[in-house]
C-alpha cells in the first residue's frame, strides 16, 4: 500500500499505516520487542501515557528530520514517522528507565500475590519478572488505604492499584453513567465512588478484565481457586443484552465453572468478538451464568502468553512469521522468548523423546 510507512524497531523493519503508534508497530513485530504496557489499552480511547513502562528511545526521528528525540518517549502515545528508528530492548537507557518504572510501581504495592486472585495473570507480576529487582530498596511503610465497598460484584483493593486509569476509561466508554473516579492527588490518589455507592450498571464488570493488577477483582471468584488450577474453555451463549457479544472464556475445574471472563488476546486485552467489535461482556454473563448448561462450549482455549496456564509453552511471534531470528538482529541481548531450557539445565536429557518411552516417564529413564 502506498500509504504505508516504514519504521525500524530494534533493527527490525515493519510497514505500518500512517498514524500508527510506535507501540502498535512494535506489537506487529511481536515478542519482546513490544514494550510492556500497564496503562495503555488499545480498545480504550485516550488510555496510555501514564505508567511510563513503554518508554522507548527514538534514535532517528524520521527520514525528513533525522534528529533523535531528546527524551525517551511513551511509545503508546507517539505516532510513527516514515523512516523512524526506535530502540526498545536494544537501548540500555530504555532498559534502565523500565527498571526504574518497575521499581516505582512496586514501591507501594503490597506484594500480596499469595492471596491475590489476579496472581498468575497479573501484568505487574510479568513486568516484575522481566524488569524488576529481586529486592526492594524502599524501607518505609507502604501506603495503605481504607477498604471501600463498591458493590456486590466487584472487590476493590486500593492498595494494589497502580493508577492506570483504565477502569475510568472503561466506565466512561462502555456505560452511560460513571460512578467511580480518581479522588485526591499525588501518591494518595485513589479509585473511589466518593459517596459510598455501588458500581451498578450492565457493563461495569469489564473493569475487572481491564485492571492490570488485582485492584478490581471478581467477588464471585474471590478466594475460590487459583488461576493456574482452572482450565480455560471458550464458550458462548445468546445473550439478551444487545451490547453484549456473549462470547466468553469459562475458567473451569472439572465440571464446575469458577469464573467467566471476556476473551483476551495475546497482549492481555479483551479480544475482538466474531462480529468484529471488542468482546465486552455484560454482568449477567459474567456473574450469573456459572453452570455449564448455560453455555455452548466451543473447546479449550489456546493458552495466551500472559497466563501461567501456558506453563513455559511460550510461543513468540518473532522468528515464526518469516521474520529473521531475533538473536541475529539484537546483538548481545538474549531475548527470553527463545530461551531453551537445555542450555541452562541438564535435568532432562534432550536426546530422549518422551513418546519413545513406554508408559509414564520416570526419573530412571533419564539416567
Amino acid at each position: 500500500m502506498a500509504d504505508n510507512i516504514k519504521v525500524t524497531i530494534d533493527n527490525i523493519t515493519v510497514e505500518v499505516p500512517m498514524g500508527t503508534t510506535i507501540l502498535e508497530a512494535a506489537r506487529k513485530i511481536g515478542g519482546d520487542v513490544a514494550p510492556p504496557t500497564m496503562c495503555y489499552y488499545s480498545k480504550l480511547k485516550g488510555s496510555g501515557g501514564k505508567c511510563r513502562t513503554c518508554l522507548v528511545e527514538v534514535s532517528k526521528g524520521s527520514e525528513k528530520d533525522p534528529r533523535p528525540m531528546p527524551k525517551l518517549v511513551a511509545s503508546c502515545r507517539t505516532g510513527v514517522m516514515d523512516g523512524m528508528e526506535v530502540k526498545s530492548m536494544t537501548s540500555d537507557k530504555v532498559i534502565d528507565a523500565r527498571k526504574g518504572v518497575t521499581e516505582f510501581l512496586l514501591l507501594n504495592h503490597p506484594l500480596d500475590c499469595p492471596v491475590c486472585d489476579q496472581a498468575g495473570e497479573c501484568d505487574l507480576q510479568n513486568l516484575g519478572y522481566d524488569h524488576g529487582n529481586a529486592g526492594t530498596r524502599y524501607e518505609y511503610d507502604r501506603r495503605t488505604f481504607e477498604p471501600e465497598d463498591i458493590g456486590p460484584h466487584i472487590q476493590l483493593h486500593m492498595n494494589r492499584c497502580i493508577m492506570c486509569f483504565r477502569c475510568v476509561f472503561t466506565a466512561d466508554q462502555l456505560t452511560n453513567t460513571r460512578e467511580h473516579g480518581i479522588l485526591d492527588r499525588g501518591d494518595h490518589a485513589r479509585i473511589s465512588t466518593c459517596i459510598s455507592k455501588a458500581l451498578d450498571n450492565d457493563f461495569i464488570g469489564n473493569v475487572i478484565d481491564v485492571c492490570p493488577v488485582g485492584a478490581l477483582t471478581d467477588k464471585t471468584f474471590r478466594f475460590k481457586n487459583r488461576v493456574w488450577f482452572t482450565k480455560p474453555v471458550d464458550a458462548h451463549r445468546n445473550c439478551s443484552n444487545p451490547k453484549c457479544c456473549g462470547e466468553v472464556r469459562l475458567w473451569m475445574r472439572g465440571e464446575e465453572v469458577f469464573r467467566v471472563t471476556a476473551r483476551k488476546d495475546e497482549w492481555g486485552e479483551v479480544a475482538n468478538a466474531s462480529n468484529g467489535e471488542t468482546g465486552w461482556i455484560c454482568n449477567e454473563c459474567r456473574f450469573e451464568k456459572k453452570e455449564t448448561k448455560d453455555w455452548v462450549i466451543e473447546g479449550p482455549t489456546k493458552v495466551d502468553r500472559h497466563s501461567v496456564i501456558a506453563q513455559g509453552h511460550y510461543a513468540g511471534k518473532v522468528g515464526t512469521a518469516g521474520q529473521p531470528v531475533l538473536i541475529d538482529k539484537v546483538i548481545g541481548k538474549q531475548p527470553q522468548l527463545t530461551l531453551d531450557i537445555h542450555t541452562v539445565s541438564d535435568v532432562n536429557k534432550p536426546s530422549y523423546h518422551l513418546d519413545q518411552i513406554e508408559g509414564p516417564a520416570h526419573s530412571d529413564d533419564f539416567k
Binding site: 526504574g100 516505582f104 514501591l107 518505609y140 480518581i182 501518591d187
Partner: protein
C-alpha cells in the same frame, strides 16, 4: 530602566483614572490600528521570552497558533503562580492590574481571542476581586466588551480561580482545570496551540509575559529588543526572598550582575547580620541550587549576570536557570539538607499522581531526605537518592518530575559533604540542627 514597574509609585495607579492619566491603554489604541499579524511580528522582533520559567520565545509560540476557519481561539493568562519563591505576578496583579488587562487586550487582539481567561491561583484569594474591578473599569470605559473603541473587535476577559494546586500551573493541566476537570497534565502532542481549551487552539502565557506586551507595542519591538543582553531582551521581574536585607520584587535589566543584585543597596541590599552567602536558587524552587562560588562567577571565571544565558552557563553541572525569577538566597547558617527536604515535601504533595515515576518517586525522595535530615540516614541513601532522581528526570509526562528531580540532584552535586555530615553525626543532626539559623522553626523530635 523600568518598563513594567515604571508607575508603581503613583498613587491610585491600581484604578483606571490614574492609570489612564499616566499613559495607560495607549498600546491598545496603537494596536487596534495595526493588523494582528503586525502585532505578532512586533512581539517576534522584540525577542520576548516566556517569563513563566521555560523561557520559550513568545512570538514563536504565538505564530504556532493554528487558525482553522470557524473555530474560536483562546488566550489564557497563567496566573497560577505557585512556585515556591516566586511572587512577581502577584505583585503585578495586585498593584498594576490594569497593566495586565491592557496586555491581555492587545494580545487577545493579536491572537483573535474573543474570550480570554485569567486562571488565578486559589490562594490569591483577594486578587480576583482586584482584577474583576479592573476589568469592570476597563469595560465601562470601552476597552472591553463588544466593538472595542469602534474597531469591530470583541473581547471579554474572565477570571477563574484555581483550587490551589501547583500542577495547574502546567499549561495543559491548567486547561483541564479551566474546563472543569481534574487538573492532570495532558499528554503532548497535541500541543495547546493546536488543541487546547475545549480542543480549540489556545495560547497560554504567564502574567509578566502578557504585561510585557504593553511596552513592546508602545516602544516598538525593535526598540524593546535592543534592551538586554543577547537573546535575553527587555527587563525581568525578580522576586527575591530568603536571607536578604531587602527582599521583594525588583525589575532588573538583564546585564545586571548577580553580585550587584544581591549586595547593592538599590536591590536586595546584602545579607543580614553580616553573614556570608552560602547558596542561592536563582529562579524558583525547581531550578538547581548553586553554591556561592558558582553563583557569582561561572566555572570559566566570567561574572554571572541575571539573564537566561549567563545563569545557565555550564549546564546543570556548574550552572542553573533563570526560571521564573524566584530568587532564594541562603546564608551560611542554612542547612541544605533541610532545605532540600522541604522542597521534596512540596513536590511530593503537589504531584498529580498521574504518572508513576513522579507519583512514587517524589514520596520516596521526601522520605529518604527526611531520614537523612533527622540523622537516620546511611551513606548509601545519598547514592540511592541520586539514582531515584535520575530515573524520574525526563521520564514523566510533564515537567513536574524534572522540577522535583533537579533540586535534589543539584543539592547532592554541590553539597554532598553536608549530606555526609548528617550521616556521620546523627546525634548532632537530630539535636543541634546543623546549619539552621537561630530563627528557623525548631525541629520536631521524631520517635524511634
Amino acid at each position: 530602566m523600568k518598563l513594567l514597574l515604571e508607575n508603581e509609585h503613583i498613587e491610585g495607579i491600581r484604578y483606571y483614572e490614574a492609570y489612564r492619566k499616566h499613559g495607560g491603554y495607549r498600546s491598545v489604541e496603537k494596536a487596534l490600528k495595526m493588523t494582528p499579524e503586525e502585532i505578532v511580528e512586533e512581539v517576534k522582533k522584540s525577542g520576548l521570552r516566556g517569563r513563566g520559567g521555560a523561557g520559550f520565545p513568545t512570538g514563536m509560540k504565538w505564530s504556532f497558533l493554528a487558525k482553522p476557519e470557524g473555530v474560536p481561539r483562546h488566550l489564557v493568562c497563567n496566573a497560577d503562580e505557585s512556585e515556591p519563591g516566586t511572587f512577581k505576578d502577584r505583585y503585578l496583579m495586585e498593584f498594576l492590574p490594569h497593566l495586565l488587562i491592557e496586555g491581555l487586550i492587545v494580545s487577545s487582539f493579536a491572537l483573535g481571542s474573543n474570550a480570554t481567561y485569567i486562571y488565578i491561583r486559589g490562594e490569591y484569594a483577594w486578587i480576583p476581586d482586584i482584577l474583576e474591578q479592573a476589568i469592570a473599569e476597563a469595560k465601562n470605559n470601552g476597552w472591553l466588551g463588544k466593538n472595542i473603541q469602534n474597531s469591530g473587535f470583541d473581547c471579554e476577559i474572565y477570571v477563574q480561580r484555581g483550587g490551589g494546586a501547583y500542577i495547574c500551573g502546567e499549561e495543559t493541566a491548567l486547561i483541564e482545570s479551566l474546563e472543569g476537570k481534574r487538573g492532570n497534565p495532558r499528554i503532548k502532542p497535541p500541543f495547546p496551540a493546536i488543541a487546547g481549551l475545549w480542543m480549540r487552539p489556545t495560547v497560554v502565557n504567564n502574567v509578566e509575559t502578557l504585561a510585557a506586551v504593553v511596552p513592546i507595542i508602545n516602544m516598538g519591538g525593535e526598540e524593546y529588543g535592543k534592551l538586554g543582553v543577547g537573546r535575553s531582551t527587555g527587563t525581568k521581574l525578580m522576586s527575591a526572598c530568603g536571607n536578604l536585607n531587602k527582599p521583594g520584587v525588583y525589575e532588573i535589566p538583564f546585564d545586571l550582575s548577580v553580585e550587584e543584585f544581591i549586595f547593592s543597596d538599590e536591590y536586595c541590599g546584602g545579607i543580614p547580620n553580616g553573614k556570608r552567602l552560602k547558596a542561592c536558587i536563582p529562579g524558583g524552587s525547581s531550578v538547581p541550587i548553586l553554591p556561592a562560588n558558582l553563583l557569582l562567577k561561572d566555572a570559566k571565571g566570567n561574572t554571572r549576570q541575571m539573564n537566561y544565558e549567563s545563569l545557565s552557563e555550564g549546564g546543570f553541572a556548574t550552572g542553573s536557570m533563570l526560571g521564573s525569577g524566584g530568587f532564594i538566597v541562603l546564608d551560611e547558617d542554612q542547612c541544605v539538607v533541610r532545605h532540600t527536604m522541604s522542597l521534596a515535601r512540596f513536590y511530593n504533595h503537589e504531584s498529580c499522581g498521574q504518572c508513576s515515576p513522579c507519583r512514587e518517586g517524589t514520596g520516596w525522595m521526601y522520605k529518604l531526605l527526611k531520614s537523612l535530615e533527622y540523622g537516620k540516614g546511611r551513606m548509601e541513601d545519598i547514592d540511592l537518592l541520586w539514582d531515584i532522581q535520575r530515573r524520574i528526570e525526563g521520564n514523566t509526562i510533564c515537567p513536574l518530575g524534572d522540577a522535583a528531580a533537579w533540586p535534589v540532584a543539584a543539592a547532592i552535586r554541590h553539597f554532598r559533604d553536608e549530606f555526609e555530615w548528617h550521616v556521620l553525626h546523627p546525634e548532632e543532626a537530630q539535636n543541634r540542627n546543623f546549619g539552621l539559623a537561630h530563627y528557623a522553626d525548631p525541629l520536631e523530635v521524631i520517635q524511634n
